[in-house]
């Protein structure tokens, strides 16, 4: 009964993905903590951190798929929301350093002492509290998205124009955060973190903990996306994607729907950024770089737009490829990524996941009178 309900909620790809995540949640800590270093199956802590990073990227990919795949809003600036969540987390971690910084100032982070600042800027207040930082992780990107979206959607900016201004948004933020006077550490960003909630960030156990949290967050993000796309609101979103003005003439106020999903998506990206920062140990303005946002869109396109599971596959898969390439043949990575994008756009318009479900359909169709002869409806 419960499994049947679960299956209805996730669909086959979703269920397989959840199972895979559960396996990863058990196996990776085991291979890292229990298996001996000599064992062929032992996983280095650095590999665990890398996996945790991919999981954060997968959450970012989900957030992009939610707005792009289901509502047709192609954001080329989602990296901004990711980075803002990351900065909110980084600000807390900075204040956690306290007197252990190079200058030993109990209140001011090192970079402020270095800049000869006398006191903490007002927007750093409250970040010594973990709960406050966590609220800001969603509130900062969420409110920026809300204001941006309210203006853009109300003036009915769509398509390429919207994509361009999202790109401009992240670019402007990057330039702003590069400036020392902004008070976010300038081009060095925030780093040298020590611990979070008393747990040493370098400790193996903390690393495993963050990794597990990332899996949990990914599952939660997937469930939220799924709840949204399966609701009647989700159907309205798809209607907007396919025939925006038709939706208006039925009486839906399209801009409200876009604003809702856009803001939720930005918050989700913020959570991804917040989990990313303690794992990589740094956040700097480079995270706002337009190229990052574009890369994230490519993950979604490669995995399969409008499928959620495809976004996760793309977010993890493409980044595994990136890690391999940048290790083995770094100068080729951008070409490989570009080539992959062109290939997918030309030959796999529905991404990897679309390819898989096509294969399934073909097999089902070749079985005479099988139960699967009806064209399978994309429930995605």
């Amino acid at each position: 009964m419960i499994t049947k309900r679960l299956f209805e909620f996730t669909g086959l790809p979703g269920l397989l993905m959840l199972l895979a995540l559960l396996v990863l949640a058990v196996y990776v800590p085991y291979a890292n903590l229990v298996l001996e270093k000599g064992s062929a199956f032992h996983l280095d802590t650095s590999a665990v951190v890398l996996l945790g990073k991919y999981l954060c990227f997968a959450i970012l990919a989900l957030s992009i798929d939610l707005v792009w795949g289901y509502c047709g809003i192609l954001s080329l600036g989602h990296g901004a929301f990711f980075a803002l969540g990351g900065y909110a987390m980084g600000m807390h971690l900075m204040r956690e350093i306290g007197t252990r910084g190079v200058y030993g100032d109990p209140i001011l982070p090192d970079f402020m002492v270095f800049l000869n600042w006398e006191e903490l800027p007002w927007f750093w207040y409250g970040f010594d509290q973990f709960w406050f930082a966590m609220v800001m992780v969603v509130l900062a990107p969420g409110s920026l998205a809300f204001v941006f979206g309210a203006l853009a959607f109300r003036s009915r900016v769509t398509g390429v124009y919207l994509s361009i201004i999202t790109q401009a948004l992240t670019f402007a933020l990057m330039l702003a955060f590069f400036r020392n006077e902004m008070g976010f550490g300038g081009n060095n960003g925030l780093t040298d973190f020590k611990d979070v909630l008393g747990f040493d960030l370098q400790a193996q156990s903390t690393r495993i903990g963050l990794y597990l949290l990332s899996i949990l967050a990914l599952i939660a993000a997937y469930v939220v996306c799924r709840l949204i796309v399966l609701s009647r609101l989700g159907k309205v979103l798809i209607a907007v994607r396919d025939a925006e003005s038709r939706t208006r003439f039925i009486g839906y106020r399209v801009e409200h729907y876009k604003l809702f999903v856009w803001t939720v998506s930005a918050m989700m990206a913020g959570v991804a950024g917040a989990l990313y920062v303690p794992q990589v140990g740094i956040i700097n303005p480079g995270e706002f770089a337009p190229a990052n946002s574009i890369e994230a869109v490519i993950w979604v396109a490669v995995g399969g737009r409008g499928t959620l599971v495809g976004a996760v596959i793309g977010g993890i898969g493409v980044n595994m490829g990136k890690s391999y390439f940048t290790g083995a043949i770094p100068e080729l990575w951008l070409f490989a990524l570009g080539g992959l994008f062109v290939f997918v756009t030309l030959f796999l318009p529905k991404g990897i996941l679309g390819l898989l479900s096509n294969l399934k359909r073909k097999r089902a169709a070749s079985e005479p009178d099988g139960p699967g002869t009806e064209p399978v409806k994309e429930r995605a």
């Binding site: 609101l233 003439f249 039925i250 009486g251 409200h256 409806k377 994309e378």
Partner: protein, 250 residues
């Protein structure tokens, strides 16, 4: 004019729209009474679709009065509010939600929930399900209920769009070329359906198909170059010299 104002479901007076200097509607005045069905004919480019655009808020008139139900000034409202007031529209080119099933197309059109948070938490009620099934039957799409709208034939899409229109339960229906691309049999069925709908709705139908208009058997308005050229029964307007000149004679 006052009695007209209060008794008319739709009241257009001196409405003009121009696109880059070209007058698509030229001082158009036009009244539809409650419960009336009106057919609109006229040559290509006469402004028939533009008139519907103006009524539904897609295009703003340069000047003119546009009243719905005697009291609502349509020039001040956006598309969603106009739809929620009870004006439904079928487009000239059938537009349905292609990646939704036929049933979901109707579900989304059902009058009722429209705001973000009500749709987020809305659960389809038994009453809604029954309404959907009845509507599907009415537009003869019960068998196709679970197919994607994209897979429908052109004629079926037209009917689905009429079904969506009915689901909105509007008091005024604007129907733009409902039988374009239909077979003769489908055309006859559509006329029957529209006559049935007209029993408890006000309807404005734009159509080029004269035998269809004859089947509807209602008052006809002829539009030409953005204004009314003639009005009356089909027999009367088809005898009109000017109508023959600009439209029927060709």
């Amino acid at each position: 004019m006052n009695t007209e104002l209060t008794s008319a479901v739709l009241y257009l007076d001196d409405v003009s729209v121009s696109f880059d200097g070209f007058k698509a509607l030229n001082a158009l005045s036009f009244v539809v009474k409650h419960g009336e069905m009106r057919a609109i004919i006229g040559p290509n480019g006469a402004g028939k679709t533009t008139m519907m655009d103006v009524i539904t808020g897609k295009t703003r008139p340069d000047v003119g009065t546009l009243l719905f139900d005697g009291s609502h000034d349509l020039t001040k409202l956006d598309e969603a509010s106009i739809a929620q007031l009870g004006i439904g529209r079928k487009f000239q080119r059938p537009t349905v939600f292609e990646s939704h099933t036929v049933r979901d197309n109707i579900l989304l059109s059902l009058s009722g929930v429209r705001s973000v948070f009500t749709t987020l938490f809305s659960v389809t009620t038994k009453d809604e399900r029954e309404r959907i099934e009845r509507l599907l039957e009415r537009v003869k799409l019960s068998d196709a209920a679970d197919r994607l709208a994209a897979e429908l034939s052109h004629g079926q899409k037209q009917w689905l769009e009429i079904g969506m229109l009915l689901a909105q339960d509007p008091s005024l229906l604007l129907v733009d070329e409902p039988v374009a691309g239909m077979t003769d049999a489908e055309t006859v069925q559509t006329a029957t359906l529209l006559r049935e709908i007209a029993k408890d709705h006000s309807v404005v139908v734009v159509e080029h198909d004269m035998s269809f208009v004859r089947d509807l058997d209602v008052m006809v308005t002829v539009l030409h170059e953005g204004s009314v050229l003639a009005e009356g029964s089909l027999d009367r307007v088809s005898a009109d010299e000017r109508v023959i000149d600009v439209y029927l004679g060709r």
